[in-house]
């Protein structure tokens, strides 16, 4: 049993490591272990590589494992971690520059709001949604903290009429 306690690097971001992988792979010295997305934060698990090596993962903190992580390396062996592919839905916006900051930001804000299961009302540069209590403001500020540079969050007491073309799941 090989105990894995840390990640050496990732071949998609570390050029040297990628070259090392190519070399070792061509010599048949690489092994792969496949996990699912839901296992990427596990602190403890036991897995086998494609060549049958017995691995015990033991981390002290959330390891946030990534596709392409090198989890073991010595002169004779490199073990690469891969994520199992899964079905994903893809929505592409027509006639929009995909690199546009506003587009990306809107998607992320929309995703967070959707996770709250709220109906929305949209104006040119605002999105409004009902709050269940004033105390939710604090939660919203935490939730949207990564976008602080780009947005302002405030509350109001007003008539709210949701957009009608959305299917929402409110509770």
């Amino acid at each position: 049993m090989l105990v894995i306690k840390n990640i050496i690097g990732n071949i998609t971001t570390d050029k040297q490591l990628e070259e090392k992988y190519e070399l070792m792979n061509s010599k048949g010295s690489s092994e792969k272990v496949t996990i699912t997305r839901l296992e990427t934060q596990k602190l403890r698990m036991r897995k086998n590589t494609d060549k049958g090596s017995d691995l015990a993962f033991v981390f002290e903190h959330n390891p946030q494992l990534r596709h392409g992580d090198v989890i073991y390396l010595d002169e004779n062996k490199m073990i690469l971690l891969e994520l199992e592919p899964e079905y994903v839905g893809i929505i592409t916006l027509k006639d929009t520059d995909k690199n546009d900051q506003v587009f990306l930001l809107s998607i992320k804000i929309g995703h967070n709001l959707g996770n709250l299961h709220r109906p929305i009302q949209v104006t040119k540069n605002q999105v409004m949604f009902p709050l269940q209590a004033e105390t939710e403001l604090e939660m919203l500020k935490k939730l949207f903290a990564p976008f602080n540079r780009f947005i302002e969050i405030k509350t109001d007491h007003m008539v709210f009429e949701p957009e009608e073309e959305h299917h929402i799941h409110e509770h």
């Binding site: 049993m1 699912t36 839901l38 596990k42 602190l43 403890r44 698990m45 036991r46 015990a56 959330n62």
Partner: protein, 221 residues
């Protein structure tokens, strides 16, 4: 927090599927091998499962101290206490870890009975057992859901009643194979203990990594 994490397993499943009884069956098997366990039992409003396990496993059989069977009334949706916001469970786990770092091998966290989308936050549990039972029909595994598909071990309980309700275990087995790909599943009857040895073996291999019990290691050290 500067204590060492004790391996933790989470057990989820619908109300009445046999979560508590499964624990009552495998704890003695782990105990026979010398492994020391603690149990945290979540429920929506009551603590009856914890009270029952404390009586059956601690008071009557002395397999663990009474203080290490802890009931948590979580309120609300049971899955939130083990997935979205496991802070209540984590604080109890960390308290146990601080006191029992040298002798405890495993912490078992039982979720309150819930629907098929239950999962455990990886911050709370290292290994997730999901239990369903035959009485809900042999189509259950093919309905998928996060619990059934993604748990580390699927346990299908009450196999003894299959003939009485017209449930075909072969159908359940074939569906479990398709839905779970290579992940393991076990058929059990928690009333008699049939199949539970296999559950204990999975825990020893995949969670405890087949290491000897801590009390044994510390005695020889």
């Amino acid at each position: 927090m500067n204590h060492k994490r004790i391996p933790r397993i989470g057990i989820g499943g619908p109300v009445g599927s046999g979560k508590t009884m499964l624990i009552e069956q495998f704890v003695p098997l782990l105990s026979q091998k010398g492994y020391k366990t603690a149990i945290i039992s979540n429920d929506v409003v009551s603590k009856i499962d914890a009270d029952r396990m404390r009586k059956n496993l601690a008071s009557e059989r002395g397999l663990l101290p009474e203080s290490l069977v802890i009931g948590l009334a979580t309120g609300g949706c049971p899955h939130t206490a083990v997935r979205e916001d496991p802070s209540m469970n984590i604080s109890v786990v960390e308290e146990i870890e601080a006191k029992h770092n040298t002798d405890l091998d495993l912490i078992i966290i039982e979720s309150g009975g819930d629907n098929i989308t239950t999962t455990f936050s990886p911050a709370l549990a290292d290994y997730f057992i999901y239990i369903i039972d035959v009485s809900s029909g042999d189509k259950y595994p093919r309905k998928r859901g996060l619990g059934i598909e993604n748990c580390d071990l699927l346990v299908i309980n009450k196999i003894d009643i299959a003939p009485y309700i017209g449930a075909d275990l072969k159908v359940m087995e074939n569906d479990a194979k398709v839905v779970r790909k290579n992940k393991p599943y076990v058929f059990v009857n928690c009333k008699t203990g049939q199949g539970v040895q296999e559950v204990a073996e999975h825990i020893i291999k995949d969670v405890l990594f087949e290491e000897p019990p801590k009390t044994v290691i510390n005695k020889t050290a």
